[in-house]
Symmetry: C2
Subunit: 279 residues, 2 copies
């Protein structure tokens, strides 16, 4: 598809188009663990091919979407909305940037890797089964999601963390509720995921304000969103509730270095990409 | 309330009504573990008082309901529907017997006690929170439940195990989906519960027909429904997937004695009461 578009728009030579391509791919994200590894891989592949064939400013997120639905969102930095579109061939089901990465630099992400082994139910087949068998998904798609997307875009524009956090947590829970309403049910969260959810609610309650929000994609691993000023405190809290002997290891804690009140904890990655659930 | 009704209907002497009552209560069900222990206790208390005061054939399930909502269902044997009623004071929120215990004697129940410790979220407060914060519960109450109750009553009347099993499993999952859509979420199922759910689906699939259905009330413990002819086979299967050294103990396996292909397994109770989720 990228070759076809390059041919149509004459963005590169016929000689280049005739060349065969050798793809070597490597990904440092746990694969199929619900951390959007396939999205990052397909986005990278499509972006690299588009660069090669000179498709600089053209819309290519619809091509990325064919590899992995959420890959279309990963084509842009910052906050991105995946629009469902109305055309039957899906050509207008593309990603639109809501705000660039510079818009809300204060917003940080901690990823707590609960389990990096492959998930039992692939996201795409899980979603297909939900659409076929869940009764609640109809109400979610028609009533809940449009309202939430509208409120979420506003929260991002206003950098309103409280509102952002509430919608993020509620929508994560509702997505997993739909998975459970699927028949047979798809279950991505485990006991550790639920322990994290409980702890985050307890922590925010004790602090007297919402300092951190959780969200879970199609896997047990938590993505926590939080303003920069609370990173130290939240890391110290996580370290306290999930103590580990291995925390000095470079494998245990990854990503941007953070100065902490106490010893640092758990695989951390600063990853300012909006992962709001869409389907 | 029972004294008041006895007074109105003159079913006993004034002398008896003037006596003080000493209540001594004992319950052999695990308490607050999501196994309807409070329902059994309140139903017993109300029934015993009604007997004492001579209220033989009067409707008293509305009184039992005040102690524990589901206690109104436990006033009758067999299959019982808890009608929500329309009056504000709840006087018509009563239990109605759909079929007596003699109707479907072939239907057995195995209860797998995953955890008999007290649950973190009491059912009543959990339900109140769901009504206040879940968006999906509106759709469940208005669209899903009325249709399912209608189909379930028909399945019971027809002794249609396939239909009964499908509605039971789907409704259990949807009830827990609503709990997860509550904010903060209420989570009653744990990893073992989900393992049981997976195994039941796998078992039915491998057997080529639905031989057993699961349902979970507000706790992690599984109630399995199955026709009598499959009890041996299902017990052998459970024994295989959850092997245990302790199975010779009288504490491990309780209830009606079952002859089995292999050694017997897990706390078993023949408990032919309809536990369909209602809210």
């Amino acid at each position: 598809m990228i070759k076809k578009r390059a041919l149509e728009s004459e963005t590169c030579s016929q000689e280049l188009l005739d060349c065969k391509i050798l793809v070597e791919s490597e990904n440092n994200f746990p694969t199929a663990a619900g951390l959007a590894s396939s999205a990052s891989g397909y986005a990278c592949l499509v972006f690299a091919l588009a660069q090669l064939y000179g498709l600089k400013d053209q819309e290519i997120s619809d091509i990325a979407r064919l590899g992995s639905g959420s890959a279309c969102r990963s084509m842009y930095g910052g906050f991105v909305q995946w629009q469902k579109g109305i055309q039957l061939d899906g050509r207008d089901s593309i990603a639109v940037q809501i705000a660039p990465e510079s818009h809300w630099q204060d917003l940080h992400v901690l990823i707590l890797v609960v389990n990096d082994s492959k998930k039992k139910v692939a996201s795409t087949s899980g979603m297909e089964k939900s659409v076929l068998t869940s009764e609640l998904i109809k109400y979610r798609v028609e009533k809940c999601v449009p309202h939430r997307i509208h409120s979420m875009i506003q929260a991002i524009r206003d950098r309103d963390f409280n509102k952002f956090a509430e919608i993020t947590m509620k929508d994560s829970n509702q997505f997993h509720a739909i998975c459970l309403d699927t028949f047979p049910p798809c279950v991505y969260l485990n006991d550790i995921s639920h322990t994290i959810i409980n702890y985050i609610h307890e922590f925010n309650k004790n602090e007297g304000e919402t300092k951190v929000a959780y969200t879970f994609d199609a896997g047990p691993n938590a993505c926590l969103y939080l303003p920069e000023k609370y990173v130290k405190r939240v890391l110290a809290f996580i370290n306290h509730v999930f103590p580990n002997d291995n925390q000095e290891s470079s494998e245990y804690l990854r990503g941007q270095h953070v100065e902490m009140d106490e010893v640092s904890v758990i695989f951390i990655l600063i990853y300012p990409i909006f992962m709001f659930f869409f389907f």
